[in-house]
Every structure is written in structure tokens, then in C-alpha cells.
Symmetry: C2
Subunit: 230 residues, 2 copies
Amino acid sequence: MPDPAHATSTDPASDTPADATTAAAASAPADAADTAATAPREAGGTRPPRSAATRAAILAAARDRFAADGYERATIRAIAKEAGIDPSMVMRYYGNKAGLFAAASEIEVHAPDLTHVPHDELGARLVRHFLERWESDETMTGMMRVGVTNDAGAQRMRKVFAEQIEPVLSAVCPVPEEAELRSGLIASQVLGMALCRYVLHIPPAVALSHDEVVAWLAPTIQRYLTADLP
Amino acid sequence: MPDPAHATSTDPASDTPADATTAAAASAPADAADTAATAPREAGGTRPPRSAATRAAILAAARDRFAADGYERATIRAIAKEAGIDPSMVMRYYGNKAGLFAAASEIEVHAPDLTHVPHDELGARLVRHFLERWESDETMTGMMRVGVTNDAGAQRMRKVFAEQIEPVLSAVCPVPEEAELRSGLIASQVLGMALCRYVLHIPPAVALSHDEVVAWLAPTIQRYLTADLP
DNA sequence: TACGCTTGCCAACAAGCGTTGACCAACATG
DNA sequence: CATGTTGGTCAACGCTTGTTGGCAAGCGTA
């Protein structure tokens, strides 16, 4: 019984056209054309240029709250308060909560170029990079926090994995066909350490220094990347 | 009439989480005269025997919903509906949502006795056991889902780690002082694979057979358990 | 029969949620 | 000046949440 299917109520991914009012805005998360929802009566056809400043402030606040509280506990009101504006502005700029989340969870792993790294240093290089990336801001922690409870978040993580992790490793994988498998194994160790260290705060995982984490995990990553298939 | 006791805090982790297990009694400090029905102080002599059947039904439903939806999306109403009783019964039996969660998250990892396992088979044995444990029911998946977003859940996971994982590994660890560190490393890999495989559903992690997971992870676990410190 | 205790349902409460529409201050342009 | 667009606030809506108090039915005992 592998799959705990829980595609239930408040799921920003399954924004089916059932709700006609929010469908248009939700499908256009970025600064795309929002049609009838926000410009109901005017037939001017003018594209309203919106204030980029508050828009960015909302996005920053949303990232912060989603990362700290997860999807359902991060309320629109709290995000608006942190951004210093009215909750209704959030709706006007991003349509609805799902649209805001879609925009806020657009993340960049910034995976490094590994093609010129000596092959026996790949593990250490990868571990150190992700360590720094995880601690640079709360984006990764937040994405994981949301990815675990919310299906749209999990989908985002799969997308990041497929588009940002896998290609980088595929470039240095001896057999490209095995890149997906090896990437999955590496992700399991890297995400697992991040989970224990940054989210669950399991004491021994928190106590490790950067160098210790690298010393322990790098051989594992190295083996997942280069060892023969079983 | 107004209830100021919990007006500010809807978070089960906000109050001192040490007494989370007795949240029902702990959450009613002073003005809770209404607890005459729900909080029988054991000094009375006769402990009111409550219907164990519905009590168990509630607990089973709660485990199910918490595991599937996480703490905040699992509503009392949904749990009661699944248990086939009225929502108010949940309150009468478990005090409040935090108390119900405390009772529902009382889990057993059933870590195996490793003292008679050959030392070079420890890794494989551990991986295989946890694989089966994770797939036997949704308890572990649910605990992780809750542990990531809710601080009370994270505390539960730390407790399980300290009381059920660490002792077992400490018994087979050559140097007992290193057991905590080595347990943390092992947890990072085991939980990481579980996260990718059962929660995030990252394709290559899902595609692996049991034997493949064991073949890949066992050497890692073995090394974390027995390798010299860096 | 009447009582007390337990078990349960019902209806309601206050609070908080996402979301909406009316209204207002600028301000550039006819 | 008048006017229309833009960025923003305010108050409310419908709904769901956790939670509570009152009341009805079962039942062993006096």
C-alpha cells in the first residue's frame, strides 16, 4: 500500500475550473494578463502596470511565512501584515492563496557546475554546496515543510529535482541512463540530513560541524554517484 | 462565557511542550470548571470506565487523518465522521485537539534486537526492517508529515529517536559514547529515503525494489555504524 | 418505579479564515 | 478643470474551525 492519497480539499495544484472566479487568476501566477477578474467593467483593454515594490514585498513576506509555518498555517492576513499592506492587496496581486503560493515557491537551488571538478571530489563538493545553500536562507526549509503536507508543494519538489538536480548530476554521471537513479539516492541522503538537522532538530544532526557533515556524507554521495549498480 | 484561556494560542506546541501528553488536563489551568465530566481526578476512587470501543475508534480515525492530512488539515469533524460519532465526543474523550494528537502520536517503531546479528549484516538488517515498518501502516508517514510542520510533532520524533532508535543502536555500537552521533547519521539516511519514497514520491526513489534499497543503503548504514570517526 | 451514571447527539458559540466589493487619495493626461 | 487609471484601505460576506452546554436514551441498582 504505497500511496497515501490525500488529494482532498484545499489543494492549490488541483485548481480545477470548477471555481470559475479564481481559475483565471490562479492559472496566471506571474505578471500575466488577468482578464475579467480584476477589470470587470472597463473595456479599455489597458494592461495595468502594477507596483513592483509592494509586489516584491508581498512575495518576500509570503516566502517567509510559508517557510516558517507551512501552507495552511501561513495566513493571507499574516503575510499582508508582514508586508505592511492590506490583505485584499494580496488577492488583487496574486488572485488567491494558491496563486500566491505558486509564485512564492518558485525557487532556485543554484546547483553548481560540476563538469570541471575532479571526480573523486564530487561528493564533498556537493555536500558542502547544499549545506551552504540550506543555511543561506529559509527557502529550502520552507519548501520541504510545504512539500510534506501539501501536494502542490510535493509537486514543486519533484519539479525542482527533475529540472535542477538531475541535469547537473547527469552531466557528471558516467552512464547518463543511471543519472535519475543516482540522483534519487543522493537526494535521499541530502534531504534526510536536512530534515534531521534543520527541520526536526535531532540533536546529533544539529551538533555536527560543516566539516563533519562533509566528512561523513561525502563518501556516501560519492558511492551513490560512482559505484557499480548492485 | 468567553474563554480567554486559549484565545491567543491555537498551536499545540506554543505552550510548554513537556506536558503535551497530558494536554487535556494541562490546557485547563484555572477556570475549567467544565472539566468535571472530562477530567476525573484519580483521587475519586472510582475511575469512570468509558467505552473503550469508541475511544479506540476515535484514536484509529485520528491516526488515519493525522497521517493523511497533517495536523492542521485533519479536522476534529473529519475524525469524528470517520469514527462514526459526534465531534463533541472527541472533546469529551480527549479534551482538545492537542490532547487527541498527543494520544494518537504514541507510536512504536518496534526496533529489532540486534545483539545477535552478525556485525557485518547490521546495515542490511536495519534497512530491511525499517522498509517493512514504513510500509506496514501509515503511522511513520504520518508522524513525519506532522513532525515537519508542527513543533509538537517534531518533539515526538525526537523522543522516538532518543527512546527507541538510539538505545537499540547503542547496544551494538562498539563505543557507546558514539551511539548518539551514529544514530543521527543513520536516521538521516533512513528518514531521507522514507521522505523521498513515501512522502514526496520522487520517481527514482519510488521505483526501487526492496532489495535494491537494501543493496544501496545497507553499506551506508554499515559505515555510519562502524567506520572510524573522521 | 425512580434514580444516577454513562454514552451519545444536537445546536450553537466565538474566532479565524479566504475572499469580495465599495470607497478613497493621488496623479498624469484630455 | 474634469477625468480615468492606479495603489491602497475598510468593512463586510460566507464559511469552517475548535469547542461547549443542554438534552435524550440506555441501564444497573435501590
